[in-house]
């Protein structure tokens, strides 16, 4: 079976800087300035990464005050996986049913063939 490809959520995770940001946020919410500290990167560059994470629903940024704390949201990761899993399982079941149906059909055709001759 081919591996799942979760696009927006996991492409957000495909960048090491963004992964590091998420790891830092797992310890608690913090400001953009604090997040930017470990990286040799301008604030706008960090903000760009935050936007990607935000769009993927992995972090939220509140509008309070000037420092706009960022918070980790772990649910979207789980949800995307859950949803895909449900759809996949629906298909696995139906493709099993398809096989059973084709086998039955073949048996019926064989029977019919014998009757004819």
């Amino acid at each position: 079976m081919s591996p799942d490809h979760l696009s927006a959520t996991f492409s957000a995770l495909a960048d090491p800087t963004r992964r590091a940001i998420l790891a830092r946020l797992a310890s608690g919410e913090t400001s953009v300035t604090e997040l930017a500290e470990p990286f040799e990167m301008s604030l706008p560059a960090v903000t760009k990464h935050l936007k990607v994470l935000q769009r993927a629903g992995l972090i939220t940024r509140s509008r309070e005050a000037q420092w706009r704390p960022c918070r980790l949201e772990a649910k979207p990761l789980k949800r995307a996986a859950d949803w895909v899993e449900q759809y996949r399982r629906f298909w696995e079941q139906n493709l099993d049913n398809l096989e059973a149906y084709l086998r039955k059909l073949q048996q019926q055709e064989k029977k019919h063939g014998r009757k004819k001759s």
Binding site: M1, S2, D4, H5, L6, S7, A8, T9, A56, G57, T60, K75, P76, R79, A80, A81, D82, W83, V84, E85, Q86, Y87, R88, R89, F90, W91, E92, Q93, N94, L95, N97, L98, E99, A100, Y101, L102, L105, Q106
Partner: protein
């Protein structure tokens, strides 16, 4: 579930997550036979639908042609109604079917997807590949009942494997 006027919903409450899955199967039947099972309402009704014990059919429509519509509406144990509403985009007889569909749960559109089904000859049989690319909308959450359902099924499977 209360209906929402889109213009009154704040930006923060809307989201779209994208995901793709691929399933491959081998069938000991030629592509024409496998394809035929997808191509008529009568044949598809013999294998395509919700699980017998949990799901009751309400509407089944199939207009198998490019531009044709397919519809599958059913009720789940617990009262939830699912509505699969699909449009055929591409049909190559015995080789390929492409359709786009929306999934509604109790009237709410939870996903819109593109499905590609490919039938490849493999010896005397068929290699079937189903690829689905979906946009999952607005963080649909049915209070975890689906997750519980999935867990319950996985537990049953686990128990069944252990018994063997």
């Amino acid at each position: 579930m209360a209906a929402r006027n889109p213009s009154s919903t704040s930006v923060a409450e809307r989201s779209a997550q994208h995901a793709t899955f691929v399933i491959e199967r081998s069938y000991a039947f030629p592509p024409a036979k496998v394809f035929a099972a997808w191509a008529s309402r009568e044949a598809k009704a013999r294998w395509f639908g919700g699980p017998a014990k949990e799901w009751t059919l309400k509407v089944r429509e199939l207009d198998f042609r490019i531009g044709g519509r397919e519809r599958l509406v059913g009720t789940w144990a617990g009262g939830t109604v699912s509505d699969f509403d699909s449009l055929y985009q591409d049909i190559v007889p015995d080789r390929r079917i492409v359709y786009s569909y929306s999934m509604r749960i109790d009237e709410k559109r939870i996903s819109v997807s593109l499905a590609t089904v490919e039938f490849a000859p493999a010896g005397k049989g068929t290699q079937l590949t189903v690829t689905e690319q979906g946009a999952f909308l607005d963080g649909y959450d049915d209070a975890g009942s689906r997750e519980r359902g999935t867990r319950a099924l996985l537990d049953k499977l686990d128990a069944a494997i252990k018994q063997n």
